[in-house]
């Protein structure tokens, strides 16, 4: 590891002098143009659809009518679509259900993973190998959809908000990431704390956790995004469409085109004169925004998480 860092330093210095990394000597013109084209095109392909959604959600009835559907640019913006979905009873409720499931699920699953990762971080523990294989085997062999479905039906969480996240509380991948990180921490830290009479719980809380904020942020994000984006649990385990989370409402209302807003549990919807398309796109925006707000803060730690997970897995 240290050699890489040194090489990196040397490159950084050389780059400052020449403005070039060593692999770029006599880079052909075709490559120089080609790489910008590739990167630029791929970035545009990602951005344009997202832009389209935001623009359409903000477009007025007139702009949508003229474009015949989706728009990329509108000079005539209005927030009516957002006012409409917020004054409906359906979307705020679905949003609330999604938020509760995501927050509860993320807290529980992160706590479970942190505890288990530390519990498995010392190979000398009795039964270590057996427990580790018990956990890792779940990565290789899944029990199958039908038996899990029947278990959920029979343990009393069917048709409750718990069904949205409890069956998915654990991912072996995240455990591998965190455990590898814990095992990479210098043992002197835990050993000296142990000599000072700290309990294992105290060591985990006061020594390990403060050093592990980055990988914990990454696995929490992975868990959180998973819960937020999940629609299949609702489809499987919820009978009453009034209790659907946001992704499920999105599926029914935007993808399958059913008219959700008006049948929203009997209450009157205040009509804000927004086109149907804009309202639908506003729901998409609401479903995307929480994830887009959180992930840039965690982005710089991704490399660590993904690489450890992939290599040590």
């Amino acid at each position: 590891m240290s050699t890489t860092v040194l090489a990196g330093d040397a490159t950084a210095r050389r780059r400052k002098l020449t403005g070039k990394a060593p692999w770029q000597h006599d880079e052909p013109w075709s490559v120089r143009i080609g790489k910008w084209l590739i990167l630029g095109l791929f970035a545009l392909v990602i951005i344009i659809p997202l832009w389209m959604v935001v623009a359409t959600s903000l477009a007025s009835t007139k702009a949508v009518g003229e474009a015949g559907g989706m728009v990329l640019w509108t000079s005539d913006t209005s927030l009516n679509a957002y006012k409409t979905i917020l004054s409906s009873s359906r979307i705020p409720r679905a949003l609330g259900i999604s938020l509760v499931a995501t927050v509860l699920g993320t807290i529980l699953s992160s706590a479970m993973t942190i505890l288990c990762a530390y519990g498995l971080s010392r190979p000398s523990t009795i039964g270590h190998k057996f427990i580790l294989w018990t956990v890792l085997f779940t990565y290789l062999f899944g029990p199958g959809l039908i038996p899990v479905y029947l278990v959920v039906r029979n343990i009393g969480i069917y048709n409750t908000i718990w069904a949205l996240f409890v069956p998915n509380l654990f991912a072996a991948f995240n455990l591998i990431v965190l455990r590898s990180f814990f095992m990479g921490l210098p043992t002197e830290l835990t050993d000296s704390a142990r000599l000072d009479g700290a309990s294992e719980w105290g060591i985990l809380r006061k020594v390990i956790l403060p050093l592990s904020k980055a990988p914990i942020a990454v696995i929490s994000l992975f868990y959180g995004v998973g819960f937020w984006n999940n629609f299949f649990n609702a489809m499987l385990y919820l009978d009453d469409s009034n209790n659907y989370p946001l992704q499920m409402v999105l599926r029914d209302y935007v993808l399958n085109g059913s008219n959700m807003l008006n049948k929203a549990s009997g209450s009157e919807v205040i009509v804000h004169n927004a086109p149907q398309t804009s309202i639908q796109m506003a729901v998409v925006v609401v479903a995307m925004v929480p994830v887009m707000l959180v992930y840039p803060f965690v982005q710089k730690h991704f490399v660590q998480g993904v690489i450890i997970g992939a290599v040590k897995g």
Binding site: K20, I38, V53, L195, F231
Partner: protein
Amino acid sequence: MAQATTGSEATRTVAGRSRAPRKGRTASVLDGQVIHHPSRWTRIKNDAPFLLMCLPTLVFLSIFHYFPMLGNIMAFEDYSPFSAPGFQSFIWSDWVGLENFRILFDDPAFWRSVLNTLVLTGLNLLLYFPVPIILAIALNSINSYWVKSITQSIFYLPHFLSWVVVVTLFTRLFSPVGLVTGFLERRGIDAPHIIGNPDIFPFLVTQQSVWKDAGWGVIIFLAALAAVSHDLHEAAAMDGCGWWGRMWHVTLPAIRPTIVMLLILRLGDALNVGFEQFLLQRPAVGPDAAEVMDTYVYYVGIDGGGFSQAAAAGLLKGVIGLVLVLAANKAAHALGEDGIYRGRPS
């Protein structure tokens, strides 16, 4: 360090990893020192906090993983949820042996789903797999820190969007009232019929995967590229190796282990082509094109109530998947690569 700690600690640090003492021995000699092995009970007592920490996960896995795994016994039964209350129905349903598998193998829809799954994996390897590698090599050669990190932010973003959002985006681009279709029609070009077209569907879903995850796949190759020693490039350049020569002889060999590992991982995962993506689009395209093994299990079992037949399909998929992963890992070792996991986890 060893002297400072308690007896049991010393055993661990000196005698090394987790080896329990040989049967019947309570002490052994190492480097002229007598080391007392703690009894099993002492070890459990000493390690209690660690074991307790693993407990929530173990309880969870017992309920949602290992118990359902036992529940797969229903694949050999004519399972009926009404045969007995609760979980007893797993025991009291009629035993039919391999009958469910016979029904499964006689069902053309099942074979259709297997075929679709394999075709999609093949397409994925052809059209998806090379994309992150090319993107990573291009991105790695960008000098500006800001351009690089903004590009990375954009590339990673779609990975965090749900399949519902991604499928919605593609529909709104390519459906008859979509943005691209409208754009083409205004210029008098006949837009191809893309959404809901079974012939194009395999390519459409592969492109959706590229859009969603190819940017994310860049991470692991970028890390491999960053670890390439620059001396190699300089030495090669000194010896008169041109840019393409260095690409072939330095850059690509450096990321070869990563490529092989991911390729093997993908092959071992051949039966998993993504579930939600197909579940969402099956109504629009029809089962002939959009049925994969996972959706087959869902539609036969949950939607159609054929629990046992679906469980049989799920079990078959799980077992073949396990064999594929193990075989792929063996292959990796045979090729001298690390594989997905090593012989024993450390």
